[in-house]
Structure formats: C-alpha cells, structure tokens
C-alpha cells in the first residue's frame, strides 16, 4: 500500500458522495482522478485490503439482531465444535481465544426471535452451552488506521 492507498482507506471510510459521479467527486478531495480512484479501489478489494466498498448497514435498524456469544470447549473437541458453529450462515467473526471461554463469535439474524433458537440449535449440535452476551448499549465503533 502506498500513500494514496492509505489515504483512500482512511479518508473514504464514510461520507461517500451521493451524486451522479461520486467517484469523481471523492477523487478530487483526495487529489486524484476518477479512473485512478476506481482502479485503486478495485485493487484494494482484489488484494483483500478492503472487504468491500459501499454502504455499511446497521443490522438492528434494518429489523435484524445480533449478539456476542461464547463457549467453553474442551481442547480435543475444538475443531469439531468450531466447524459446527461455522456451518451456520448467521455466524461471523468466530475466534479461538485464550480464556476459559475459548470460542467467541457473533451471530446476526434477520429477526431478534431467531437468536435464542439459533443458540439452542448450536448448543444441541455441539453438546456445549452457549453464553449469550447481547449488546445493550454501544459506546464506540470505529477503526482508525495510522496513516
């Protein structure tokens, strides 16, 4: 990533223009041109530096729900349980972590009532209880990069 790439990643995280030629307008603010910005964005996505470029939706405000979940899984059973958890399309950000509770993931569903059903299903499939830590209040969400 060169200096322009870093500025694109940092300065274009929000506020993308809503006009006919938004990339041209955003490019002007970055001191480049539309073709260059589009080419850079395509490459940043191809190389996986960006997961995507576009609207970031708030699942809850769209009527959906999500929750942070944790499980305490025996080490010898970890791969099996992780695979069973990952098989659900509602699961994102599943990590093994260094703690008694060693498997942490986020579930997102299109309707709040689906969350307890999904967690019960995961508990039945894996044989381990699932700790549900639903979000009550959001204090801060943002990723800042040092350019």
């Amino acid at each position: 990533m060169d200096e322009l790439d870093r500025r694109i990643v940092n300065q274009l995280q929000g506020g993308f223009p809503l006009c006919e030629r938004p990339f041209a307008e955003a490019a002007r603010a970055l001191g480049t041109d539309e073709d260059t910005l589009l080419a850079r964005l395509r490459r940043l996505i191809e190389t996986n530096a960006l997961t995507r470029f576009g609207p970031l939706y708030d699942a809850e405000r769209l009527g959906g729900a999500f929750s942070l979940c944790a499980m305490r899984v025996a080490p010898e059973d970890f791969e099996r349980v992780a695979a069973l958890v990952n098989a659900h399309p509602e699961v994102a950000h599943n990590y093994e972590r260094e703690h008694r509770l060693n498997l942490w993931f986020v579930v997102a569903t299109s309707c709040p009532s689906q969350i307890p059903i999904l967690l019960k299903t995961i508990a039945c499939e894996t044989g381990y209880p699932v700790l549900n830590l639903p979000r009550e209040e959001e204090y801060f969400v943002e990723m800042r990069l040092s350019a």
């Binding site: 990533m1 694109i8 990643v9 274009l12 995280q13 929000g14 506020g15 993308f16 809503l18 006919e20 030629r21 938004p22 990339f23 041209a24 539309e34 589009l38 964005l41 395509r42 940043l44 996505i45 190389t47 996986n48 530096a49 960006l50 997961t51 995507r52 470029f53 576009g54 609207p55 970031l56 939706y57 708030d58 405000r61 769209l62 009527g63 992780a82 958890v85 990590y95 093994e96 972590r97 260094e98 703690h99 509770l101 942490w104 993931f105 209880p129 700790l131 549900n132 830590l133 639903p134 979000r135 009550e136 209040e137 959001e138 204090y139 801060f140 969400v141 943002e142 990723m143 990069l145």
Partner: protein, 146 residues
C-alpha cells in the same frame, strides 16, 4: 422497510458497483431511476439504517495481525461513564455494554471491547491503559480465527 429499500439493501450489501456512475448502475439493475437510488440511500443514512458509505477495511490484510477482546465486570452505576472512556482509547475499535445473562461469570454489566493491536506485544499496554478502572478483567486474546 419497503420492497424498493429491501431490493437496494440486497443489491449493495457486498458493495457498490465500481463504475463511474454506481447509482445509475444500481438503478438499471433494480428498474428504478438514478435519483430514486440516491434518495433512498440518503434517507437510510439519515435514519441510521446505513451507518456510513465507504471503504470497509480488512484489518488483517492491512497489517493488524492481533486483536484482543476484553470483558469487564463493571457496576451498573459506573458502566455508562466508563464505556465512552474506554471507547475513546486509540486502539479500541468496539466498545459495548452487554446484557446480563443467567450463566454469565460477569454478574451485571460488562463492557466488551475489541482492540486491534499491530502486534501482540501491544496488548499489555492496553491492559495498563485501563488499569485505573477498579474492576476485574477477563482478557481474551485471539489465537486464530476458529
């Protein structure tokens, strides 16, 4: 949510078309006009259904190789003043109060944070930065995606 809004969410959830007139391209796909796409997006931004429109970075690919998640048992009285202070730390990316749960080791309220450290050695500094809060922590470092 209207049918037009739902169609637009589905058409854009993996990103905007990377073409000079992305809203026109979406309008063509959805059978509406460009001005309608722009006004729907503007309305969804205004009411918070869209948080932002822009680049969504992949933190692993851009050099953030480690992340740690920390869950704190904080009293109900303190949690709403401590939450924004933890969130204001430069290396914290998410800070929430999470719900009470019947089988939780964290009795009443917890602030969960997910700082991304550039290297694993940054994690102790993060603990130290939060040290003034007199509460127990359970730091859970990510070993790998599960």
């Amino acid at each position: 949510m209207t049918a037009a809004e739902l169609a637009l969410v589905k058409a854009t959830q993996h990103g905007l078309p990377l073409v000079p007139r992305p809203y026109q391209a979406l309008a063509d796909d959805l059978g509406v006009d460009e001005a309608q796409v722009i006004s729907l997006l503007r309305a969804m931004l205004a009411d918070g259904r869209i948080r932002r429109i822009g680049a969504v970075p992949n933190h692993y690919a851009i050099g953030y190789s480690a992340n740690a998640m920390s869950v704190w048992d904080v009293t109900d009285e303190a949690v709403d003043s401590l939450g924004p202070r933890v969130g204001a730390l430069a290396f914290v990316t998410h800070c929430y109060r999470t719900g009470p749960t019947t089988c939780s080791p964290w009795s009443t309220a917890a602030a969960g944070t997910r700082p991304r450290a550039r290297s694993r050695s940054s994690a102790p500094a993060w603990d130290a930065g939060c040290g003034e809060a007199t509460c127990s922590t359970a730091r859970a470092s990510s070993r790998r995606p599960g």
